[in-house]
């Protein structure tokens, strides 16, 4: 009988291996936001653009996070904000992963001139500070959440291209890949069946972490007026409103805490996933 082993064994009974504290914490935060995002129209006492009461009320029983310069309920607007941030972040990440991984996989697998062209494009894109490039592209396309999303895909795909290329380069040297070629498999088949399935772990971890970053960048673009236009209840937009009334701290506090919690949630989740999916990259 080992006394030391006992607590470990007991924990295993209740939780699967991936359910570490960061994963549970991050998952809970994100689950909260997703549930809120889907169900809020059903139970919210106010509309996000409704003039719900007196302007500039500090937090009170009726308006838990107070009201803003137009008398709209800050808490309602904050909670509605997730309906803009999360779907856009998801869209940006999905597009960036699809484009980046496709190009990265082609670069790594085909090599030669194709590789050079794609990777130089990546280098050029990554040489700009992300926020600056996103600003420039959004400004060129015209302000708006949709254009901001396009700009962010342009900023983000090279990260995945680079990551995927490195993965493909390392996996393609494995002997089972050569074995598949020796068995007569065609090149596309080798790539799809024997290389790509082994490449996903770091992509998934990175995408989870980047989710939070994208939420932040959407807010940043809106903050400087390039993203959501008023009266959309978007977090960056709301913080920018709040910045005009510096001593009415509650106007910016709601969306600020929202951004903080969602970024934290994704980072926790990504961190926990990495420990499980990709233990060597720590």
């Amino acid at each position: 009988m080992s006394v030391i082993a006992a607590p470990k064994a007991r924990r295993r009974v209740f939780l699967p291996q991936w359910a570490t504290l960061p994963v549970i914490l991050g998952g809970a935060i994100l689950l909260f936001w997703i549930v809120v995002g889907i169900t809020i129209p059903l139970w919210s006492p106010y509309e996000p653009t409704m003039l719900a009461g007196m302007r500039f009320q500090p937090p009170n029983a009726e308006h838990w996070l107070g009201t803003d310069a137009l008398g709209r309920d800050v808490l309602t607007r904050t909670l509605y904000g997730v309906r803009h941030s999360l779907p856009i972040a998801a869209m940006v990440i999905v597009c960036a992963v699809l484009i980046g991984c496709t190009l990265g996989a082609i670069a790594g697998f085909v090599g030669g001139i194709v590789d050079s062209v794609i990777m130089r494009l990546v280098d050029v894109t990554l040489s700009f500070p992300p926020i600056l490039l996103a600003m420039a592209v959004t400004a060129a396309l015209g302000p708006g959440l949709g254009n901001a999303a396009i700009a962010m895909v342009i900023v983000w795909w090279p990260i995945y291209a680079r990551l995927m290329r490195a993965q493909v380069l390392s996996v393609r040297e494995r002997e089972h890949v050569e074995a598949a070629v020796a068995a007569g498999a065609t090149r596309p088949r080798v790539l799809v069946k024997h290389i790509l399935p082994l490449c996903w772990s770091p992509i998934i971890v990175n995408a989870t972490m980047d989710f939070g970053q994208v939420v932040l960048l959407v807010a940043s673009l809106s903050f400087i007026g390039l993203g959501a236009a008023p009266p959309t209840p978007e977090w960056g937009q709301m913080i920018s409103d709040g910045a005009l009334h510096f001593y009415r701290w509650w106007i910016a506090a709601g969306p600020g805490i929202a951004i903080l919690s969602i970024v934290l949630g994704f980072n926790f989740l990504g961190d926990g996933l990495r420990d499980f999916l990709d233990p060597r990259s720590k």
Partner: protein, 336 residues
């Protein structure tokens, strides 16, 4: 004697160095394997044996330059397009890799991998049929409970079992020739014997020709009928295993045999061949083995010996006759 299944004539493979110079990894190799024959190719690391086999499969890196002829059943393989080569790989020639730990895709079940090897070449075979074929193949390589094993992943297999699975994959399309590149190197001795037994059984029952690449003379002695000894990119001696082992005509062969432990003889210390093989970039003139050879005389340093028939074996040595006669006294000069 039947027509040769695999006939390699004067095969040379060279790779371009960093500054455009060519390194010849394989020079003028001849090799003949008949149907249903097990032929051993023996040599140290870097002797060119693996490069020769990869050349047969058309798996050399794009930078490699290749000359000579490789014929399978009389059909020239050198110069075939990649598309044509794919109909040879896995169909006519099965390849068994050295390390079964890494030669299997960790994310596919054993059954799926074998079924895939079937479906690559016969897409019309249904999923269920190819699965059944996979189980049949696992049975062929003597894996117990093949139905259950087919649904397991490589990490659930032991090393010997994985090598059996790799062999099953190589056999998926009933090839005429199996190339086994050091199939037992990564396995321990008892498992080695089982794998060799399995290859021998496949040779007998299915009539496949087998090229067994190895650096282990013991493995060849037990299994092969004929063998080629390679040194520094060339075949230095070849013949039937019994003849070569009874009367080696090349000092290198002799040295290899001398370095084997003999169970019935009491030897204080195994005899090693002095020195190390020359690097590919700095092969000596004349016979590549002369710096390590106790028989070396002036002609060995100046002129490269060609393969010729001496006694029962074919050998590339100027002094093959003396070597066979057993004048080994000079070998000891280097021992100190």
């Amino acid at each position: 004697m039947t027509a040769p299944l695999l006939e390699i004539r004067d095969l040379s493979v060279s790779f371009a160095g960093r500054h455009g110079e060519a390194f010849e990894a394989v020079s003028g190799v001849d090799l003949t394997v008949s149907a249903g024959e097990l032929h051993g190719v023996v040599g140290e690391s870097g002797s060119g044996k693996s490069v020769t086999m990869l050349a047969v499969m058309g798996l050399l890196s794009p930078g490699a330059r290749l000359s000579g002829s490789i014929k399978l059943d009389g059909r020239e393989l050198v110069g075939l397009s990649d598309r044509q080569m794919r109909k040879v790989r896995g169909v006519r020639i099965g390849y068994i890799f050295q390390d079964p730990m890494t030669a299997l895709n960790p994310l596919l079940t054993i059954g799926d991998q074998i079924a895939e090897a079937v479906r690559i070449h016969r897409p019309q075979v249904s999923r269920a049929q190819s699965r059944a074929r996979a189980v049949e193949l696992l049975q062929l390589v003597a894996i117990p409970m093949p139905e259950k094993r087919a649904t397991q992943y490589p990490h659930e297999f032991s090393g010997g079992m994985r090598q059996r699975a790799v062999i099953a994959m190589a056999m998926a399309n009933e090839p005429d020739l199996l190339i086994a590149d050091e199939p037992t190197t990564a396995l321990d001795v008892t498992i080695q014997a089982q794998i060799m037994e399995l290859l021998e059984k496949l040779r007998q029952d299915r009539g496949v020709g087998i090229v067994l690449v190895t650096h282990d003379l013991g493995v060849v002695a037990g299994a092969a009928r004929s063998l080629s000894i390679m040194y520094s990119g060339r075949v230095v001696e070849r013949g039937l295993v019994d003849d070569v082992f009874a009367a080696p005509h090349h000092p290198y062969t002799k040295g290899l045999l001398g370095s084997l432990p003999q169970p019935d003889a009491r030897v204080e210390r195994l005899r090693a061949i002095p020195g190390a093989p020359p690097p590919i970039s700095a092969r000596p003139a004349g016979c590549a083995f002369h710096p390590r050879c106790g028989y070396a005389i002036d002609i060995c340093r100046a002129e490269r010996p060609v393969l010729r028939q001496v006694g029962a074996t074919t050998v590339a040595c100027h002094r093959a006759e003396e070597v066979a006669a057993g004048q080994a006294e000079e070998m000891s000069v280097h021992d100190a």
